[in-house]
Symmetry: C2
């Protein structure tokens, strides 16, 4: 009388489930980042994921569930570079590494950057809570590190959160406003060495901007 093994919430996902959820999340990130939540239809995601709409809805009951899953799947990764800021490292060198990693992520996963940008731009309706808790906590913690460096004279005086804003803004700009960058710079964006040129420019301005004088 133990009953038959039926599908339950806690069950580990099938191999098919694992694969298809991944395919769906990839497709959804692509579409959401380009057209936003309301601008993306379930059908579009399904087509991109090469499956029928009802099949997609078999894996995620609601459109919002897909959106939430994409959000969660990319949040952790997105904050890694900041978490890696080492209080015991050389300040300018740590900032260089931080900026470099952020630029790498923007170059390698522009869709993820645009996805977040869109979410924040529209008032962070799905991730607002985390911003006020998780993100704020992280910024507070790392701001203390910057503040120490400043008080030791290893960085020019700067209000730490603003430094983070400046770094986020400059590094993510190349992913978020890629179209504009391309419009202004034309084909040179696709030439080899463009990434290095960008990194050089951003690093040069920001690092010289915070180097003690």
């Amino acid at each position: 009388m133990t009953g038959k093994p039926k599908k339950e919430a806690g069950d580990k996902p099938t191999r098919i489930q694992e694969v298809n959820r991944g395919v769906i999340l990839d497709a959804a990130l692509e579409m959401f980042s380009n057209y936003g939540l309301r601008g993306t239809t379930i059908d579009q995601i399904a087509e991109k994921a090469c499956m029928s709409k009802p099949n997609l809805l078999y894996y995620f009951k609601r459109k919002d569930d897909i959106y939430a899953a994409v959000l969660e799947a990319t949040l952790d990764e997105w904050l890694q570079p900041m978490m890696a800021l080492d209080p015991d490292g050389d300040p300018v060198e740590e900032l260089r590494k931080y900026i470099t990693r952020k630029l790498e992520m923007s170059a390698k996963k522009p869709a993820a950057s645009r996805f977040f940008a869109n979410e924040i731009l529209h008032g962070a309706p799905h991730v607002g809570g985390f911003l006020k808790t998780g993100l704020k906590e992280l910024v507070d913690r790392k701001s203390a590190v910057i503040r120490t460096w400043v008080s030791q004279g290893k960085l020019a005086p700067i209000d730490p959160p603003h430094l983070f804003f400046i770094i986020w803004a400059t590094t993510q700009h190349y992913a978020d406003f890629d179209v504009q960058v391309r419009a202004v710079l034309g084909s040179q964006v696709d030439k080899p060495g463009f990434y290095e040129q960008t990194a050089q420019a951003v690093l040069s301005v920001v690092l010289n901007g915070v180097r003690p004088r």
Copy 2:
């Protein structure tokens, strides 16, 4: 046999038309900047503008027409600070003025900033053409100015377009990602002096970043 005066395309707008078009554009900017083109319904704009949907459609035949009108209405203004860059002025001082004006505009018209950010973020489907012609031309022209300043040793070596990207990114960040800034900084954003603190931080980093050393 001269016929009666009928409404024609070239007619000057009535006072009512002028007022209502303005009201609609204000309402539309507000909604589009918060929810995007697809995320905003005509009904929402109409409600915000305190008029019925058919009445709104009496002034703008299509949703896209409203969007295009908002775009045009804000484009010129948005580029003013850059156009004001004076080749004969002191380089650092000119950049200070430029950055200051951009920050002022972001603070005073955050909705306009978010509106543009959203348009670009989603691939600039309505303004892409202008970016490749008008904006590129302007950037090219002003890049030549920066390049002269650099070659005169009045600025640290920097690829001019990247300098503009950095300035756009940092100044517009506070409008576009206002929610995130608020989440991290809390209530201090609304305290008097916050704008000055922001300006100080951005100016300090960017100007020191380009000051010749």
